[in-house]
Amino acid sequence: MEQQLADLAAKVAALEQSGGMQGTIDIEVYYFWATALMVLIHAGFLGYEMGASRAKNVLASGIKNILAFAFIIPTFFFFGWWIYLAFPGGFIPAEGGDPGLPWAMAMGPNLSDNATGVFWAAFTMFAATTASVFSGAVIERIKMSGFVILAILLGSVLWILGAAWGWHPTGWLLTDWGFHDFGCAGIVHLIAGAFALGVLINLGPRIGKYNADGTANDIAPHNVPMVLIGLMLIIVGFFGFLAACVIMVKGGQWTNIYGQPMTLSAVGFNTLMGFGGGVIGAWALTRDPFWMMSGGLAGIITAAAGIDVWYPPLAFVVGFVGGATIKIVNDGVVKVLRLDDAVGAVSVHGWCGFLGVMVVGLFASGYANVGEAPPVSFMGQLVGALVCFALGFVPGFIVSYCLKVVRLLRVPDEAQMIGLDLAEVPLKAYPEGVNAAQGTLQPAE
């Protein structure tokens, strides 16, 4: 009898160990494939930016986009992950950052740590997304060297510092203000949009964008279908992005990054409803397919901060408002501020990111936080939104001004005129059918 009990106990222990390991593997699998899905965001941004460029700049825009993605990866390993772990309290690094140092034992294959690698990968993709948001605004006239420096600053320093403050279980925006931003409307999109705004002021417009009297010309994308497909790929990737915002808990209720319980079903409901609202809202006001698809993105971004708690028709409504207002805000940026935002990034990401944070303050105040953090409130959301704006805009303006002074920001006029592909790319995008310098179709010989 005693032997049987001992065997039974051994079997139970083995089963428990097996179940625990299974849970660990489940977490790895979940975040790994969410990360893989997020790569589609970059496939989308690649198509979006190349399509939005004129034919004479298409490869230069593509190279710029891919290089931003590539440079974010090592730099986020060198210091990005450490910033997230070390700075939840503000500007003074805490001891908790040590596991994020690039020589830490957690920062490599480790049989006692199945989590760090997949979380680092997911955050790296968030970082690359942030840099790509900024990338589209500055196409066709920014120098690659200056752009890479700015992309690294935004992707591997600024957004992740914002995440340490407002998208971390002990970040000061949460513990002091109860800030709530489930899907990074403020932490990714507002920071990136504000950064783009700061850079655009120093970068200046593309040649031909503005007339002598200050009126703006439309510079048409060379391939609108590529733009639309790119935007749809970004939407697909956003499902991975938002799934990765959920904290999978072994054997328990899943939570958001703040520890509040939630379901993955919430992401299913509200991402789709926000997307639908954004597309319809933009279509209703513009009839323009470019803005319609941007509206889908705007709808998700506007709903993003509260995706974990929205009643789905409310996600549709806030998404609709986001989609319906992006063209208006972009007109203000282009015609009133006279800033040449080539893809509407300030509007779609900056404005909708701000709106997304604030609608949580309007409609989701009162939700309890865990621990000692105050509940979600309008004031907490306002503080968070202002911090996100400042964290993007101020460094974006200052560093781009410095790059302008040392002539690393804007390509020379003669290169803009003949096209960046001809000036600096050893390959033709459309060698047989398109006259790159003119950007027009030629009869095939």
Binding site: T75, N110, E414, A415
Partner: protein
């Protein structure tokens, strides 16, 4: 030569040179140098490309 383990039982960090921090620092330094020099190279390529246009 790069393996930090001689058997899998009880192994934790098993990436190459995990048991030799000085080698990790050297490799990290090389990786950082490649990254920085690549940015410098981007700037030089631009400068040369634009000078040809003048």
């Amino acid at each position: 030569m790069g393996s930090p383990i001689t058997k899998w039982e009880g192994a934790a960090e098993y990436f190459t040179y995990a048991d030799r921090p000085i080698v990790l620092y050297i490799i990290l330094g090389i990786a950082i140098a490649f990254t920085v020099l690549s940015i410098v190279k981007v700037g030089r390529h631009e400068k040369e490309s634009y000078e040809k246009l003048k």
